[in-house]
């Protein structure tokens, strides 16, 4: 029993406020693809992905058509390749990335995640081979995404890996410099990485996950922004309540799509990821929501408080709407993928340091940030170390996806177009942290990890 008002409100959300389901991501276990031959392993990886995900795109399109809910991405996440490839006998893992890429293309999805390793407490030999293969793999494939878990609240921070990833990120940028270092847009490092995240570049299927699973990521910044426009000047309690109600409705759309996809594909439903994911389209921005709170520009003092409240209210509304919430579940603050963030960073209102503060209260972290190409690898490692510490010591997920653009400096732009958008190159504190990073070793787990 639905009223005319509710019907028209729903249609407005889709037509004018850019409401969509951001991604249906199928997680596929690849552990049974491990063999002692790299060639055979690649073949099994390709065969298994294309078999399991054969109908993913067409089912997604059918649901989209019947409910008139835009479903922007259909994607695949797989078991971390460092586990799958460990016994393959090769040290060059680019062949596995190419097998994933070919499978993604055959299935018609636009990204495949899982060229990954979980190294929070140390490297296996396979983890090392995978990490050294990242630059070449991302340069020679189109759809493969790579992620690494460098830290957890239970294990502390693997500072050897933090040091190495500064270098790997620079190499990845260098190998893809003719395409604005796009390799770095497909590479993310985490603290406390969720094993069921449907969003790229960080999606992989963790070792505790089922054989095959459907995870769905919602979107909807435009809906929240429009709802807040109706309560201008009201106190913040009203703002929180308004966000919760909108988040409930948005999440229910995601839940409906997830349940339908799960039943039509015969694959269990995993989780809804309650993240507000922006796009560079006007009207689909997190920064503009924060400005609707009453800030002249995103990045002004008050931004962190507004973001904390937004993030919390979205979760409260979302958890009422779905019992199975997981993944990253929070507001994303990527710079290049958010029209308002791009504007704020371009005019200097939003700095790297402010973004770091914002990551303390939201998911996911320093995301899609372009920095000068001459930034030292150790400084990139320092940025990663700070972000890992925020996640590890506050029991939350944090991440870094950063683009040191070769040959460009502050004032220049990187341009990707599409959903990856564009980003002004932001200035980085020039003081060195090289001696700190080069110490290596591990930062011990925080005292509150001892809960047993």
């Amino acid at each position: 029993m639905i009223t005319d008002f509710e019907i028209l409100e729903t249609i407005q959300m889709f037509q004018e406020q850019h409401l969509d389901v951001r991604t249906i991501t199928m997680g596929i276990n690849l552990m049974d693809c491990a063999t002692s031959s790299a060639e055979e392993t690649c073949k099994r990886i390709y065969d298994k992905i294309t078999r399991q995900a054969e109908r993913l795109v067409s089912v997604g399109e059918d649901i989209s058509r019947e409910y008139r809910v835009p479903i922007i991405h259909k994607r695949i996440s797989v078991t971390p390749i460092s586990i799958v490839a460990a016994s393959s006998g090769t040290k060059d893992y680019t062949c596995f990335a190419r097998a994933m890429d070919a499978a993604a293309k055959a299935c018609g999805v636009n990204f495949i995640g899982g060229f990954s390793a979980l190294v929070q407490k140390g490297y296996t030999d396979s983890d090392r081979y995978l990490i050294e293969s990242i630059p070449e793999s991302l340069a020679t494939t189109d759809f493969v995404c790579s992620s690494l878990n460098l830290a957890t609240s239970r294990s502390g921070i693997n500072m050897d890996a933090v040091r190495d990833m500064g270098r790997i990120i620079k190499q990845t940028a260098e190998l893809t410099k003719d395409r604005d270092a796009i390799g770095c847009a497909k590479l993310v490092v985490f603290a406390n990485a969720p094993e069921d995240n449907p969003f790229m570049a960080g999606a992989f299927l963790g070792p505790g996950e089922p054989e095959c699973v459907i995870n769905v990521g919602i979107s909807g910044p435009g809906v929240i922004k429009s709802a807040l426009e109706t309560v201008r000047g009201e106190d913040l309690g009203v703002v929180a309540e308004t966000i919760k109600k909108s988040a409930f409705k948005i999440t229910r759309v995601g839940e409906l799509v997830a349940r339908e996809a799960s039943s039509r594909l015969g694959v269990p439903f995993g989780i809804i990821d309650l993240s507000l994911a922006p796009t560079p389209v006007v009207g689909d921005s997190i920064a503009r929501i924060l400005e609707e709170f009453g800030l002249e520009s995103c990045g002004a003092w008050g931004t962190t408080a507004a973001l904390a409240m937004l993030n919390d209210a979205v979760k409260k509304g979302g958890t009422m709407a779905s019992s199975f919430v997981g993944g990253l579940s929070g507001a994303f603050i990527p710079v290049s993928e958010d029209e308002g963030m791009i504007a704020a960073a371009t005019k200097g209102a939003l700095t790297l340091e402010k973004l770091e503060a914002m990551t303390c209260v939201c998911s996911v972290g320093l995301d899609m940030i372009a920095i000068p190409g001459d930034t030292p690898a150790t400084t990139i490692s320092g940025i990663i170390a700070d972000e890992m510490a925020i996640g590890t010591f506050n029991n939350k997920t944090t991440a870094v996806r950063i683009i040191p653009m070769p040959g460009k400096g502050v004032g220049d732009f990187v341009e990707y177009g599409g959903l990856l958008g564009s980003a002004p190159i932001m200035s980085v504190n020039p003081a060195s942290c090289a001696d700190f990073i080069n110490r290596g070793g591990r930062i011990p787990a925080p005292i509150h990890s001892m809960r047993n």
Partner: protein, 95 residues
């Protein structure tokens, strides 16, 4: 308040008011054996808005095919015609 079941769909038509909008939509529905359960319409500042609740239990075509046919009709007469499974509205607005 509109009655709903698993075969219920919602058709919304929005655009400039012209003669015969309801007639052309309902002619297609009758031909495909889609039963109209409820219609409301309003005209505000010459913008025509119609909400139609239909039961597709005996429909000779799928919801996707009907959506395609209505899209074509919408383009012909210059209106936005959306057919959507009613489950969407239930999911979003009912606990």
């Amino acid at each position: 308040m509109k009655p709903m079941n698993n075969h219920t769909a919602v058709i919304t038509v929005v655009g400039h008011d012209t003669i015969g909008i309801i007639a052309s939509v309902s002619a297609i529905l009758a031909e495909k054996r889609v039963n109209i359960k409820d219609i409301t319409q309003t005209i505000m500042e010459d913008i025509f808005t119609m909400i139609m609740i239909v039961d597709m239990t005996e429909s000779t075509i799928s919801i996707k095919e009907l959506a395609d046919i209505l899209d074509v009709l919408g383009e012909e007469i210059g209106l936005s015609i959306r057919l959507q499974h009613a489950g969407l509205f239930n999911a979003m607005h009912r606990i």
